[in-house]
Amino acid sequence: MTPVLQTQNLHKTYSEGPVAVHALRNINLEIHPGEFTVIVGPSGSGKTTLLNMLGGLDTPSTGKVWVAGTDISELNENQLIDFRLHHIGFVFQAYNLIPVLTAEENVSFIMDLQGRPAAEIKARAAEVLAEVGLADRGKNRPAELSGGQQQRVAVARALASRPQYVLADEPTANLDSQTAFNLLDTMKRLNEDEKMTFLFSTHDQRVIDRATRVITLVDGEIASDERR
C-alpha cells in the first residue's frame, strides 16, 4: 500500500547560541492510510517538532517529507500553506476555533478557503457535525459550547474537507476524562468509518490505548515503532 506520509533521514537542528540542539535525528517512517498512530515520548523528545515537520509547519534541516508523493520540504511558503489547506487537517490542544464564527461556520471554514461550492460546503458541514454528535449545535458560537464540544467542532473542521491525514497535538489535554473518552471514541469511529488517517502527539494513555501504532521518540530519535 502506498504510504500517505513518508519521511527520509529527517533531521532538525536548532542553534541556541553556540550550541546546536538536535531536535530530530534520522527519522525514517511511513504512515499508511487508515492508521491511528500515536507519537509518544518524554518532554523534549521531539514529538511536537516532528508533528510540525509532518504538518508542513516547519522545514527540516536535512531530509525529506513526502505527502501523497509530494516532497513538501521543497515547497515555498505559499505552496506549503495551500498544501496544508488541501491535504492536512489540524486539531490543536486549545481547540483554536474562530470565536466569531458559529460551529457550522467553523467547520465550513477550510472548505470555504478551498473555494468549494456553497451547497457542498453546507451539506458536508452538516454531515460532519452530525458525525461528531453536534448536529443541533451548529448555530452556536464557540463561547456557547463546552470544551469537549469545542474540540469536537475542531475535529469536525479538520475532517470536513477530507484531508489526507489529521494531525492532532495533545487533543485531549484540556478535557476531563469522560469528555476525552467521548472525543476519542468519535475519532476512532471516524478512523474506522471514513478510513481517515490520524497522527497524534500525546502523553494521554487513553489515546495510546486506542492507537493501532505507537511510535516512541527519545532524544529526537525513534526508539520504538510498535504496530498493534
Binding site: N52, I81, R84, L85, H86, V100, F109, I110
Partner: protein, 402 residues
C-alpha cells in the same frame, strides 16, 4: 467570507469599536463643518468682490490692469453686447471709471466716479436696495453716504466734478445730488459718486466707451470655460482682453490661500489625533489575535488573505464612522447654508468695517464631503498597513503556540 469575518471581528469588543467609530464620526463632522465655514466665508468674499468690483470675468483694455487710466477705455455698444451675450453669460455690466475732485460749497474731496447702468447693477449687487434716499436719475449723482457727510451735502444740493477725461480732455460738470447710497464697502462709502453711464461718458468725453465690462456667468464654476469662449470672440489685435477674478483680485486670492493653509494645519492636527485613535484600536486588535493569526495560517489561510481581512476591518470601521459623520453633517451644513449664522454685535461692526456681510456663511459644495471622506478613508488604509506588515512577518509556529 473575509468581509463577514472582518465585520464580526469588529464587534468582538463592541465598546472599543464604538469609541473608535465615534472618533471617526466626530472627526468627519468637525472637518466638514470647519471646511464648510472656511469655504463659505471665501465664497462670500469672492461673491462680494466680484459683484462690487470685478465680476467673475472682465473685458478690459490689455493695459488697463497695470494702469487703470481713462486713456485705456475701449468702445462698447449694443452690437458688442450682442456679440458677447453667449449662452453661459448671465449679464454684461459696462462701467466707466475715473477719479475726480468733488466740490460742494467750500469743501473738496477726491471721488471715484463710476458710470453705471443702474438696472444692471441692481441685478449684480442690489445697488438700488442700498440707497439711503433718492434714486439714480439721468443728470443726477448718487453719493456714498460718508462722502456726502464730508462734503456736508444732501439730496438736491449741487456737486461739481472736476478732473481729467479721456486722452487729456478736461472733465468738468455740475450735478444735482439725486441720491445717497451706503455700499457694503467702507471705502466706497467714502469716495463713490455714481453717474449714469451716459453721463459719465459725457463728463469724461469718452463717448460710447467703457473702462470695463463685468461679466457674470450663469455658473460661476464654468468661468474658465466662458473666459476661453469670450477670448475666442475678441479681435486678434489683443487690445481688449478677458481677465478672470483671480487675475483681477490677486490680494483676495492670496488671503484665501493663506486662510486655506492655516485651515489645513488645523485639519491635519485633527486627522492626526483621530488617526492615532484608529491606530490604537487596530494595534490592539492585531496584537491580541497573534495566536489566532498563527492558527489561521497553519490551517491554510494565506497571509495575504489575512492581511485583506485586517484591511477590511480598518475600512469597515472607517466607513461606519464616515457614513455616520456624513449623515449628521449633510443636514447640518444644508441648514446653515440656507440660514447663515449672524455675527454678534461687536463682530458685526468689525465686519461692516471690512466690507463683508456680518454673517457666517457655510458652503454646501459636495466636494467638501467627498474630500473629507476620502481623507479619513485614506487614513484607515494607512493604519491598515500595520496589521498587514505584522501578519507578513508573523512567525506562525511561535504565534500558534503562544
Amino acid at each position: 467570507m473575509l468581509l463577514k469575518l472582518a465585520w464580526r471581528n469588529l464587534w468582538r469588543s463592541r465598546k472599543r469599536t464604538l469609541i473608535t467609530v465615534s472618533s471617526v464620526f466626530f472627526a468627519v463632522l468637525l472637518a466638514v463643518m470647519a471646511e464648510s465655514v472656511n469655504r463659505g466665508s471665501h465664497e462670500s468674499m469672492i461673491r462680494n468682490s466680484v459683484s462690487y468690483f470685478t465680476g467673475y470675468l472682465q473685458l478690459q483694455d490689455s493695459a488697463y490692469f497695470e494702469e487703470p487710466s481713462l486713456d485705456y477705455c475701449f468702445s462698447w455698444n449694443e452690437a458688442e453686447a450682442e456679440r458677447f451675450s453667449l449662452p453661459g453669460v448671465q449679464s454684461l455690466i459696462p462701467r466707466l471709471q475715473g477719479f475726480v475732485l468733488a466740490a460742494g460749497g467750500d469743501r473738496t474731496r477726491a471721488a471715484l466716479v463710476l458710470g453705471i447702468e443702474p438696472e444692471k447693477e441692481q441685478q449684480l449687487n442690489g445697488l438700488q436696495d442700498q440707497l439711503l434716499a433718492g434714486d439714480f436719475e439721468p443728470g443726477g449723482v448718487v453719493l456714498g453716504d460718508r462722502l456726502a457727510e464730508r462734503l456736508q451735502l444732501g439730496i438736491g444740493d449741487s456737486l461739481v466734478l472736476l478732473g481729467q477725461g479721456y486722452q487729456g480732455q478736461q472733465a468738468a460738470g455740475i450735478y444735482r445730488i439725486s441720491g445717497l447710497v451706503k455700499p457694503t464697502s467702507p471705502e466706497l462709502r467714502k469716495q463713490i459718486a455714481y453717474l449714469t453711464l451716459a453721463d459719465a461718458q459725457s463728463l469724461f468725453g469718452a463717448y460710447d466707451m467703457v473702462s470695463s465690462v463685468l461679466v457674470m456667468p450663469n455658473q460661476p464654476n464654468a468661468t474658465d470655460k466662458l473666459q476661453q469662449q469670450m477670448s475666442d470672440l475678441l479681435p486678434a489685435d489683443g487690445f481688449v482682453v478677458v481677465r478672470n477674478w483671480r487675475e483681477l483680485l490677486p490680494e483676495l486670492l492670496a488671503a484665501i490661500e493663506f486662510d486655506n493653509a492655516s485651515n489645513r494645519i488645523i485639519l491635519f492636527i485633527l486627522y492626526l489625533v483621530i488617526g492615532f485613535g484608529i491606530f490604537g484600536t487596530v494595534l490592539t486588535m492585531t496584537l491580541e489575535r497573534r495566536k489566532e493569526f498563527g492558527v489561521l495560517i497553519s490551517v491554510g489561510m494565506r497571509r495575504r488573505r489575512l492581511g485583506w481581512m485586517a484591511l477590511y476591518e480598518s475600512l469597515l470601521m472607517g466607513c461606519i464612522g464616515i457614513l455616520a459623520g456624513m449623515a449628521a453633517s449633510v443636514p447640518l451644513v444644508a441648514w446653515f447654508y440656507y440660514h447663515p449664522i449672524p455675527m454678534g454685535e461687536e463682530l458685526q461692526a468689525i465686519s461692516e468695517e471690512f466690507g463683508v456681510e456680518p454673517l457666517i456663511f457655510f458652503s454646501a459644495d459636495p466636494s467638501i464631503f467627498s474630500s473629507q471622506a476620502l481623507v479619513v478613508l485614506g487614513m484607515c488604509l494607512l493604519v491598515a498597513l500595520y496589521p498587514g506588515y505584522y501578519i507578513s512577518k508573523l512567525d506562525v509556529l511561535k504565534a500558534s503556540r503562544s
